[in-house]
């Protein structure tokens, strides 16, 4: 592009605005990280901003001893892996036929799926159904009811239609491939980017899922991480304990309260880290994957 007159000033302003935007996000994240590595007292007194003060790993050491939490962590990993596997296979298997020009009945089938985006039976009827199917308090109650996402099927179908030439499939057919052969030997190997995006979306959904577990699970041993997180991070707002104690007890109690507070910062990090890393790893596929969904509409 040709350079305009005031380009330097304009660029400076734009870059500066960009910097402010970055700071608005980064400051919060950095503060949480720094706080989790700091001396509890310093955090509570408000002396920690961008860098840790009184560096120590106490919060993480306490965290390691919390057996509940690691059980939740383990459960969440299992639910995420199994759930994502189900989601991605169902999405690809459904999107592929719908992307085929010669697939009879795809209009009706698409409507069948799309209808559920606009009208659903709602929370209670779904709950009654899950219960009557005997899935109450089991892993499947978290994984099966939302296993098919119409929105992702459509994104995926659009990707297959636009980025894999139909001619390849036709010539494969002439070479004697059947439909499953085409799907496994041609379509899947060419769908890397969209599969990466699907894995990311679905896995994130399972990892962060709180509501299904809240209504369907009763057994503490089956709780996913988010339930334990909600107990520690949200439902533990203790107020007014401090007034009832003697001075010495007060000091000890205060120290304990400070540490409990710090533990929460560490917990935020430990629970969010896996997805931040996965996000950075799969990041290059994102814009591509989202663009397929966004532009085509």
């Amino acid at each position: 592009m040709v350079k305009g007159k005031n380009d330097y000033i304009f660029n400076f302003i734009i870059n500066f605005l960009g910097f402010i935007i970055i700071c608005s996000v980064l400051f919060v994240l950095l503060f949480i990280i720094s706080a989790s590595f700091s001396d509890p007292r310093e955090v509570v007194l408000g002396n920690v901003f961008l860098f840790p003060k009184g560096f120590n790993l106490d919060a993480y050491k306490t965290l390691i001893e919390k057996a509940d939490l690691w059980m939740g962590y383990k459960n969440s990993i299992i639910y995420t892996i199994v759930g994502t596997l189900i989601n991605v296979s169902l999405t690809m298997l459904t999107a592929y036929p719908l992307s085929r020009r010669d697939f009879k009945g795809k209009g009706i089938i698409t409507i069948f799926f799309m209808f559920t985006m606009y009208f659903s039976g709602g929370l209670v009827p779904t709950f009654i159904l899950v219960k009557s199917l005997g899935m109450y308090n089991s892993m499947w109650s978290l994984l099966l009811p939302g296993a098919v996402s119409t929105y992702n099927i459509i994104i995926c179908r659009t990707f297959l239609q636009t980025s894999i030439p139909y001619e390849i499939q036709e010539s494969a057919k002439i070479d004697g491939f059947n439909d499953f052969g085409i799907f496994f030997k041609i379509i899947l190997p060419l769908s890397g980017p969209i599969i990466a995006v699907l894995v990311m979306f679905y896995a994130l959904g399972h990892w962060n899922n709180y509501f299904s577990a809240l209504i369907y699970l009763t057994d503490r041993k089956k709780y996913p991480l988010q339930i334990f997180l909600s107990e520690i991070l949200v439902r533990s707002q203790q107020v007014g304990i401090e007034q009832m104690m003697s001075d010495e007890d007060l000091l000890a109690a205060q120290k304990q309260a400070d540490q409990a507070e710090l533990l929460k910062y560490a917990l935020v990090i430990v629970s969010s880290l896996p997805f931040m890393i996965l996000y950075l790893m799969l990041q290059k596929y994102f814009v591509k994957g989202i663009m397929v969904g966004a532009i085509k509409g």
Binding site: G18, K104, F112, V148, V268, I290
Partner: protein
Amino acid sequence: MTIRLNNIKGQTQIKKKSFAKRLKNNYQLYLMVLPAITLVFIFSYVPIYGMQIAFKDFNAKLGIWGSPWVGLEHIFKFIKSPYFYKLMWNTFSINFYSLICSFPIPIIISLIVNEITNARYKKALQTIICAPHFISTVVMVGIIFLFTSESKGIINSVLDMLGFERIPFMAKAEWFRPIYIISGIWQNFGWTSIIYIAALTGVDIEMHEAAIIDGATRLQRIWHINLPTIKPTIIILLLMNMGRMLNVGFEKIYLMQLPLNQDVSEVIATYTYKIAFEGGSFSYGTSIGLFINVINLILLLIFNNISKSVNDVSLW
């Protein structure tokens, strides 16, 4: 957004074969869609059948079919209940204020990001502003509690340092909406802006070149070329948000709810949850859900028609 049916006419009429032969040719494709169809049928269509309990007095022993009919009793009970206006207003207002405050931000951000010429800087910016999207609702609410804590939170530390009074944010009903909205913006603006940034890659470069020759400044070009390019995307997202006006997410509000802020934080979703799962009135809960579902559908149709006639942009 790809919420549009494929144009099937003209594509399916390529070959006319007998049904049996088609089935034989394509049976593997039907096998592929079968699992998803079965699951959607069970978990999306069967509950629609179950919705009839909205007009019945559901009794677990009698089952969905056997429970006695009561007609519209539950829906009238909801409309006449003393909570009705409060719930409707709380739900509507939290969505409405959220929409007004948070909708323009990703658009502005995407226009700014699009002007950044340094590719590395641009990429770093995009990566960082998307990161908060990956934080779970539970953790996000946890962060809110940590930051706004009266005695230990950083926001109050800063207020204290600047010589202001400490504010017990979460205990004050009037702070509920602002905190809900600001945290929502912080978490999602980067993610939503990706959609606009993607749409901006479709800008016609020749138009820009022509505009430069005509002496247009960069601001003018943003206003007259870039913004109109993403207009369809803006309208579709706005439409979808308006259609969801009574459909506030349950989790965040439920987690942020304290007895002290219940006056503004009790919304339809949290109320329904409590009615059904804490109170055990399945029929009443279902009828509230159905009532809201129908209103949402009507809203969506209305906004879609407005946009179709004014802008020629439609969800379908």
